[in-house]
Amino acid sequence: MHNKKAQASEGVTWIAATLSIIVILLISVFVTSYFASKNKEVPPGFFSPNINQKSFLSWLLTEDAEKENVYSSIKTKGNLDNYNGNLAVKIFKGMYEKEYLEIWVGASTLGEGLLDDSLNGIENEFFGKKPSSFASGAMGAAVVKDYISLKVKTDDKKFVEAIFSRK
């Protein structure tokens, strides 16, 4: 009687083990096919920085009526003015708004404190406040958005910056 019970429980163990193996395999196959189908494309926008950079540098080289270029103007005034701000809106929002979630162009200063290398954007009337691309806290910081950041140094701790957040 005891021998039969032992045999039965041993049989149940084998069946349970077999089912476990099959279930684990099915889950593995499902997970593999899910991720394999998702990662078979190189994400678009990977090579966009080169093109955006050309527009950004051309904007910085554009001169106003007094023959002063955008770079020099921002370096002197510390922020966008009416002329280069409106031109930036026409270039960056006009040509790239459909491709990106957020676009911000303006002057930035090198941040001090928790994130030594982060740039604090100076608010301007054309693009508003710089979008927060970092989530920072006591334990450190993490990039929360996929974005392109283009910057040119104007002073020791000052930059002209263009940010394009990907959709």
Binding site: W14, V29, S37, E41, L57, T62
Partner: protein, 172 residues
């Protein structure tokens, strides 16, 4: 004394266990082979990236030392386009693709007035019709805009369209 598992004698039970282990081995191997097949069986679709690289290279060609090249503003750049921009549209012939697999078009507009100044293209222009449609088996299209100025401070909008077909190789 007989040691029975599933009502079979010792010799029979050993055979059953061996068959069982072989069956499990076959199932596990089959699953591993199937998963490897899923991961490596399908090709990576790199056409979007290829179209973007082409657009990026054309943008490099349109500007020289950060200024728009004067020769691209003239209408006779059409003949020089592929050669000057170092674009080689010949593709591998192993798949017996119908016609050309690549196309590139550049249109240059006055930034202020949006009037077209010049335009040139190269490759198989039949691929353009795919850009208006949606689907995995169609050509990958990339349209990129570049703002540029020339040395006289005239402003331009350069619109670059690059198209890559290569469907048989990238989308199965």
């Amino acid at each position: 004394m007989k040691n029975k598992i599933f009502g079979i004698g010792r010799k029979g039970s050993d055979t059953t266990i061996s068959i069982y282990w072989f069956a499990i081995l076959a199932i596990v191997s089959g699953a591993v082979i199937y998963m490897v097949g899923i991961v490596y069986g399908q090709p990576y679709d790199v056409r979007d990236a290829e179209a973007e690289i082409m657009a990026s290279n054309i943008a490099d060609c349109m500007l020289q030392n950060l200024y728009v090249r004067q020769e691209v503003l003239s209408n006779n750049f059409q003949e020089k386009f592929l050669h000057e921009c170092r674009l080689d549209f010949s593709t591998e012939e192993i798949l017996e693709w119908p016609g050309g697999q690549l196309y590139a078009e550049v249109n240059i507009y006055d930034f202020e007035t949006s009037a077209k100044i010049s335009g040139f293209s190269g490759g198989n222009q039949n691929l353009k019709q795919d850009c208006a449609l949606k689907g995995e088996k169609l050509s990958a299209c990339a349209t990129k805009n570049v703002y540029g100025i020339d040395e006289l401070q005239k402003r331009y909008k350069i619109e670059i369209t690059s198209i890559v077909r290569k469907t048989e190789k990238n989308a199965q």
